[in-house]
Amino acid sequence: MRPTRWRSGSRAPRRALLVAALAAVVLPLAGCAQGGATSSTGLTVYSGQHVQTTQALVAAFERESGISVSLRSEDEDVLADQIVTEGSHSPADVFYTENSPPLQYLASKGMLAPVDRATLANTPSRFNSPDGQWVGVSARVSVLVYNTLLLSRNEVPTSAMQLADPKWSGRIAISGSETDFQPIVTSVARTYGEQAALRWLESVKANAGSHDYPSSETVTSQVNSGQVALGIVNQYYWYRMRAEVGAAATHSAIAYFAPHDVGYVLDVSGAGILRSSTHQKAAQRFLAFLTSTAGQEIIAHSDSFEYPIASGVTTAQPETPFHQLQPNDISIEELGTGAEAIKLLQEAQLL
C-alpha cells in the first residue's frame, strides 16, 4: 500500500464535493433572489384567465398607468383555494377569473373589497357581482363541438338533456373536472331539480365512458381528431383550436343549443380586489382599465376569442355576434359558488 497516494487521492474529491455542494446551494438562491421578492410597489394579479387575454391587458395597463404588475397564472380553482389558505397575508391584490363561482366563493367568505361604482357602471349590472364585490369583464357560452366527418349538423343534439340518451354511449366527451362544466350542472339542477340532475349526470358520465377528459382543450382536440364524435365546451376553445391548427386541419364545428336551452349557459369572467390588499387604489385602477374601452378593445381583438361585455365594445373576431346569442336566463346568484354542482358531481362520482 502507498499511504501518501491514498491520502491525496481521497482529499481532493472530498473538498471538490464540498465546494460543489456549497456552490449548488448558494448560486441558485442568489440568482433567484430578485425573482423571489414579489413587488412591494407594484400590483400582484392572480389570474385564472387564459394568458392569451391577460398578458396583453397587463402590458397595456402598465404602459398607461406606470404601475408594474406581476401576473400569476393558474387554474382559477387552485388560485381561489390558494388565496383562502394565504388568508390575510395573501400577496394577491387582484383576482381575475374565467367564471363567476370562484369570485362568488371568495365574496361569500368576505375576502373581497367593494369595487368602485364607476367601474361597476362600465358593465351591464346582470354581469356583475350582485352586491358590487367584483366586476364582469368578458363572457362566453357553452356549446357542443362535433366532428364533421362523424356527424352531420342535424344529427347534433339541440338540448343538453339529450346527451343522457343511451344512443350517445361512447360518443360524447366531457371534462367533468373543469370549472366550465359546473354552470351547466347548476343550470340543469335549477330547472329540473337535484334528483333529475343527478340522474342526468350519471347518464352523461356513462355515455362519456373513457372520454371524460382533464380539460376543455383536450375535449376539443379529441373531437377534432375524431377520437370522439361530440363534446361539450365553451365556444372559445374551438375558435382557439382552429387558430392553432389552421382551417385545413379543422374537422369539427360548433353547434349552439336551441335558444334558452338548459345547457345554453352564459359564463361571466370577472375580477375582484382582495380585502387584504395593500394596494387598493392601484387595484381599483386595474379593474377600471379592464372594463374601459381600451381594455375591452384588447379582449375584442385577442386570440382568447371571448366576448367583451363592458363599455359597449363588441367582438372583432369571426364569432356569432354577442347580441345574437340566446342563452338561458340563469343569473350570477343562481350560479353561486358552484357548491351545489360540486356536490352533484361528487355524487355522480365525477369528482
Binding site: 499511504p3 501518501t4 491514498w6 491520502r7 487521492g9 481521497s10 482529499r11 474529491p13 472530498r14 464535493l17 455542494a21 456549497l22 449548488a24 446551494v25 441558485p28 438562491l29 440568482g31 433567484c32 425573482g35 423571489g36 414579489t38 387564459h50 394568458v51 392569451q52 398578458q55 406581476s70 401576473l71 400569476r72 397564472s73 393558474e74 380553482d77 387552485v78 381561489a80 383555494d81 390558494q82 383562502v84 389558505t85 394565504e86 397575508h89 395573501s90 400577496p91 370562484p102 373536472s177 373513457s210 382533464p214 380539460s215 376539443t220 382536440s221 381528431s225 382557439r240 383550436m241 392553432e244 391548427v245 386570440d303 382568447s304 360540486i342 358531481l345 361528487q346 362520482q349 369528482l351
Partner: protein
C-alpha cells in the same frame, strides 16, 4: 481481508448511546420533513370524524383505492424485475455496449412521467386505462430500482461473490441475498411511493387514482377536507407498503472490512443468450426513451401555431437548473444524519423515525405546497411565501426519501469497523466523519444529489403553487403549453428536461466508471487514517 456478507447472528445496537449531535440533526430534519403530514392531521381534526366518514366511506373511494393499489402492486413488481435484470446485465455480463446502456437506461428517470405519457398519447392517441398506466409508469420509474442496484453491484467486491458461490450458493441467490437486496428493496419502495404520488401521467392517460382525485377535490371543489381525507388514505397505504418492506428485509450485514482486491470483475459470459439480452435492453431503451423523445422531435418538426404568448426557454432552463441543484444539495445534506443513524444505530425508535420520514413521498406535491403556505401564513406572517428558498425547501421535503435511500444504501455498505478504528486511534468523531465516513459514502451522496436533482427538474404540482410570481420553470412552461393544447410549443421544454436529465445520468455513470478508484472507494479511507495516526 474478506469480512463481507457474513451475518452476525445478533447485532445489538441497543446498547450503544446515540451520538447527540447526529441525533439532534436527525430530529430537526424530521421535524421539517413531517410538516406536510402534521398539516394533514390538523386539517382532518378540524373537519371532524362525522364529515370525514362521509367523505371516506363511499363508492368512489373504494374504486380509487382499488385502482391505486392494483396499479401500485403491478408497477412495483415490474419495476423491480426490469430494473434488477437491466442492472445485472449491464454491470455483470458481457452484453455489447454495456457502458452505453448504463447511461441510456438511466435517462428515462429524467423524462417526466407526464412527458412519457404525453409521448405515448401523441403516438397512440387512443391509449388509456389500467394497462396504459402500468406501461407508462414502469417505463418511467424502473430506473429507481436500476440505479441503486447497479451502484451496489459496481461497489461490490467480486471476492465476496466468489466465496458465496464456492460455498454452494447459486448465482441468483448470491446476487440477491448478498449485495443487491437492500438496493432492490429500497428501489422498490421508491417506485411504490412515486406511483402513489404520481399525478400528471395519470391525468393525461385518464386513469383515476387517489392522487388525481385529490387534485380534483382541491382544484374544482375548493374541498380541502375531502382532499385531506383522501391524502390520509394515501399516506396510510404508504405506511402499509413500507411495513411490508420491513417484514421482508433481513438482518444480515452487507458491509465489509478491508480493501478487497481492486480488480476488474470478470463479466459473466452470456453465450448464446447475448443477442436476446442485447435486443431486450435495446427494446427497453426504445420504449422508455425512444417513444417520448421521438414524440418530442416529431412535434417540434411538425410545428404549429399557438395563441399563447412566447416564453423564454433559456430563462426557464436556468431556473430549473438552479432549483434542481439547490434542492439536491439541501436534501442530500439533510439525509446524512438520518441515514447514518439508521444504519449505525438501527434501534427501533431510529428506524421508526426514518420510516416516518419516508411517508412524505406518498404525500402529493400539492399538499406539501399547501402545508408550507399554511405554515408561512400562520407562523411567519407570510414571510418567505412565494420565494425561491421556500420552493427549494418544498422540493427538499418531497424528495428527501430519495436522498435517504441512496445515502443509506451507501452507508450500509461502508464498514463501521473503519470508523471504530479511527476513533480508537484517537481521531475525533467529527474528524472521522469527514475523513472516513464521507469519502466512503461519496458515491451514495452523488447518487442522492442526482436523484433529487432529476425529480426536482421535473416536478410540476408543488411548483405551480409555490413558484415565485414571474419565475417559470421548464415544467410549468411545458404544462402551460400542454394544457392549452399547444403540443408543438410544449415539446422543446420537454426536450430540454430530457437533456437536463441526461447530464446527471451521465455524471452518475462516469463517477462509478473511473476504474482504479472504483474499487478503491472503500479502502481509500483506511490508509489515510493510518497516515494521520
Amino acid at each position: 481481508m474478506i469480512g463481507g456478507a457474513v451475518a452476525r447472528p445478533r447485532y445489538r445496537p441497543a446498547h450503544r448511546r446515540l451520538p447527540p449531535l447526529l441525533t439532534a440533526g436527525a430530529l430537526v430534519v424530521s421535524a421539517v420533513v413531517l410538516v406536510p403530514l402534521a398539516f394533514l392531521v390538523v386539517q382532518a381534526v378540524q373537519v371532524g370524524w362525522a364529515e370525514l366518514r362521509g367523505l371516506l366511506f363511499r363508492h368512489l373511494t373504494a374504486m380509487l383505492v382499488w385502482n391505486t393499489v392494483s396499479l401500485l402492486v403491478v408497477v412495483t413488481v415490474l419495476c423491480a424485475v426490469v430494473g434488477t435484470l437491466a442492472a445485472w446485465f449491464v454491470e455483470r455480463t458481457d452484453v455489447p455496449c454495456r457502458r452505453l446502456f448504463a447511461i441510456l437506461v438511466v435517462i428515462p428517470l429524467g423524462v417526466p412521467d407526464f412527458v412519457t405519457s404525453f409521448g405515448w398519447r401523441a403516438i397512440f392517441p387512443s391509449i388509456g386505462g389500467f394497462w396504459a398506466a402500468v406501461l407508462v409508469m414502469t417505463l418511467a420509474v424502473y430506473p429507481l430500482v436500476f440505479l441503486p442496484v447497479a451502484a451496489s453491484l459496481r461497489a461490490a467486491d467480486p471476492a465476496q461473490e466468489e466465496v458465496a458461490r464456492s460455498l454452494g450458493l447459486g448465482r441468483v441467490r448470491t446476487f440477491t441475498v448478498g449485495q443487491a437486496r437492500v438496493a432492490i428493496l429500497g428501489g422498490a419502495i421508491l417506485v411504490g411511493l412515486v406511483v402513489l404520488a404520481e399525478f400528471g401521467a395519470f391525468e393525461i392517460l385518464g386513469y383515476q387514482t387517489l392522487t388525481t382525485e385529490i387534485y380534483n377535490e382541491f382544484q374544482v371543489g375548493f374541498n380541502e377536507p375531502a382532499a385531506c381525507a383522501l391524502s390520509l388514505i394515501l399516506v396510510l397505504l404508504g405506511a402499509v407498503f413500507l411495513g411490508t418492506e420491513r417484514a421482508v428485509q433481513g438482518h444480515g450485514r452487507t458491509a465489509r472490512l478491508g480493501a478487497g482486491a481492486a480488480r476488474q470483475l470478470r463479466p459473466v459470459p452470456l453465450g448464446r443468450a447475448r443477442p436476446a439480452v442485447l435486443s431486450g435492453l435495446a427494446a427497453l431503451v426504445v420504449l422508455a426513451l425512444g417513444v417520448p423523445v421521438g414524440a418530442i422531435l416529431y412535434l417540434m418538426v411538425r410545428g404549429g401555431n399557438s395563441t399563447l404568448p412566447p416564453a423564454s426557454l433559456w430563462i426557464a432552463t436556468a431556473n430549473t437548473f438552479g432549483y434542481g441543484a439547490a434542492a439536491g444539495a439541501v436534501a442530500t445534506m439533510a439525509a446524512l444524519p438520518i441515514a447514518l443513524l439508521s444504519v449505525r444505530f438501527p434501534q427501533r425508535r431510529v428506524i421508526a423515525l426514518e420510516r416516518t420520514n419516508m411517508l412524505v413521498l406518498a404525500v402529493p406535491g400539492l399538499v406539501v405546497a399547501l402545508s408550507l403556505t399554511y405554515l408561512t401564513e400562520h407562523f411567519l406572517q407570510g414571510r418567505f411565501y412565494l420565494t425561491s428558498p421556500l420552493l427549494v425547501l418544498a422540493y427538499a421535503i418531497m424528495f428527501f426519501p430519495l436522498a435517504v435511500v441512496s445515502v443509506r444504501a451507501a452507508v450500509s455498505r461502508s464498514p463501521v469497523g473503519l470508523e471504530e478504528v479511527g476513533r480508537s486511534l484517537g481521531v475525533s468523531r467529527h474528524s472521522v466523519l469527514w475523513r472516513v465516513t464521507l469519502p466512503l459514502i461519496g458515491p451514495g451522496l452523488a447518487a442522492a444529489f442526482a436523484l433529487v436533482f432529476l425529480e426536482t427538474a421535473t416536478e410540476l404540482t408543488a411548483t405551480l403553487v409555490l413558484h415565485p410570481t414571474g419565475v417559470e420553470t421548464l415544467a410549468t412552461q411545458f404544462w402551460a403549453y400542454q394544457s392549452n393544447g399547444s403540443y408543438s410549443q410544449a415539446a422543446p421544454y420537454a426536450g430540454v428536461m430530457v437533456l437536463i436529465a441526461a447530464v446527471p445520468g451521465y455524471v452518475l455513470g462516469r463517477w462509478f466508471d473511473r476504474q482504479p478508484e472504483r474499487a478503491s472507494v472503500a479502502p481509500a479511507a483506511a490508509p489515510s487514517l493510518r497516515v494521520a495516526a
